[in-house]
């Protein structure tokens, strides 16, 4: 059992969730309520990571974040390290890869709020900001929470893109999914089995808890 790898995976998942939470709320709400030209294109871009092979996304990330890219050079100038094959690079990759999981459920959550309720909030004198906190988020939060749980569980299970952008550096980029792959390659079936079981348990637990919570909210508001 590779505890370092598990710890790294959990850290990666937490960072991804923390950074994607505001993105999920802002983009989900924006796509739910605003009509604009080019909206289908934006929605398609958000969904793209879901259909592309992780290797394609990983390849483009290697190109755009690599040492010779403008971003890679800027990062090197500021932090004196490289972005690819590092934990920070993994976080960037993970954020991009999780956009559909973070935004789609939140968008659905906001879309489910009747337009009349938002109008009522405005007619109660609530500014758009106050309406977000008092009316929209309390009603859309099951969607936002679902988004975050999916993002968390999905990050734990990321494989292809991690391998492309991060490689398999112990303590830096070797997540639990990579560690399992390594163990299988080394014919260490016992370790692979333990780690797989742990991953199944964590993922199942998180998702089950979310479903239980949202069922409770549904009953309360029904």
């Amino acid at each position: 059992m590779d505890w370092t790898a598990l710890n790294l995976s959990l850290q990666l998942a937490v960072w991804t969730v923390v950074i994607l939470l505001p993105v999920s709320v802002v983009m989900g709400r924006f796509l739910a309520f605003r009509q604009f030209r080019g909206k289908p294109l934006v929605e398609a871009l958000v969904m793209l990571p879901l259909v592309l092979p992780p290797t394609v996304l990983g390849f483009y990330l290697l190109v755009t974040l690599g040492r010779n890219s403008p971003i890679g050079q800027w990062w090197h100038g500021v932090f004196d390290s490289q972005l690819v094959f590092s934990f920070q690079g993994l976080v960037v990759a993970s954020i991009l890869f999780n956009l559909p999981f973070a935004i789609q459920p939140a968008q659905r959550g906001f879309q489910a709020i009747p337009a009349e309720l938002r109008e009522a909030a405005a007619c109660c004198g609530m500014s758009p900001w106050r309406s977000l906190w008092k009316v929209e988020l309390p009603l859309a939060w099951p969607g936002v929470v679902t988004a975050m749980v999916l993002t968390f569980a999905h990050t734990l299970g990321e494989f292809g893109i991690v391998l492309m952008v991060g490689g398999s550096i112990p303590g830096e980029t070797r997540t639990i999914a990579i560690a399992i792959y390594d163990r299988v390659q080394a014919f260490d079936t016992a370790s692979a089995a333990t780690m797989s079981a742990v991953l199944v348990a964590i993922s199942l637990f998180t998702i089950a808890v979310t479903f239980a919570l949202s069922a409770r909210v549904g009953r309360r508001l029904g």
């Binding site: 009747p114 009349e116 309720l117 109008e119 009522a120 909030a121 405005a122 007619c123 109660c124 004198g125 609530m126 500014s127 758009p128 309406s131 008092k134 009316v135 309390p138 009603l139 309360r220 508001l221 029904g222």
Partner: protein, 361 residues
Amino acid sequence: MALEVIARAGSPIALDAAFRVGHGELLALLGHSGSGKTTLLRTIAGLWRPEQARVTVDGTAWLDTAGRVDLPAHRRRVGIVFQNYALFPHMTAAQNVMAAMPAPDPTEAARILDLVNLHGLAERRPAQLSGGQQQRVALARALARRPQVLLLDEPFSAVDRATREKLHGEIIALRAHLQMPVVLVTHDVNEAQLLADRVAVIERGRIIREGTTAEVMADAEALRAMGIRELAAMLPATVVEHLPDGLTRLDAPTGPLFLPGVNSEPGTRLRVRIMAHDVILSRARPEGLSAQNILAGRVAKIVPGAGPGVVVHLAIGKHEILARITRRAADQLDLKPGETAHAIVKSMSVARDHVAPRRPR
């Protein structure tokens, strides 16, 4: 002063309307669905902007497309009751009311909930309240903001008939506390006649007739859009006594009225709506009739309709009873302005929800 509205638009709905509502006055915008009446309400609230419009409240412009003034909805002090109430489902009744206050004040919320007869239900969520109770919460929330204008968008259409009657009575009683202009959107002629001080009939985005409720409701031409069967006279009356046989005797300026058991204490001042098509006319005072109400008057005018009917205005003192009869019957009776006639009204033809309290002075 008070509320003044001018609105013109070509799409998505044709609109060309102007009206004003004074302080403490209730104007009913009466029309079929799709006539544009709700759009006018949304224009006042800032939820929709016509191509050309001006909305001023006490002289201050909320919207002026020519002067480029357009306050966002949350900066217009309106109270609005939506057709389906639009209560916040995650908040209790009290929280819903406090959501409309600049500074939430539980004591004030309780006072407003008492005002709309919701004592003891402050901690319930909307899902735990009946339709009528939800409507009262919506009204309380609309009032909590101390609005400069109160807007009611078909607020009684989603409740059953008995609840609606009760809510009508409550609104009439509540109006003693309301100083602001009130705009009621409705397609229910009875509701407009019972509740409004003035009525504007809207058809395809235009106001085809506007005036006091008595004027508009006696105008067969104006009501044609709503269905001529809705033509009715409104009589003030006071409850005198409940009789042992289940009838209630009322005192009206036209003489005594007998109606099926009215649910009000003796002394209560009421308005009674008498449908024109339920009234029979007779030249001589009839005898041997089952009808309990025979009102003597003088023919004021006879308005011919488009079809075989005429509307006879029978003046009784300074009030009028309207009778819709056939042209043939009017000819047979040789009815002419100035001549006497008797209006016959069956007690049982006056529906319960056509009797409502009068506004307290």
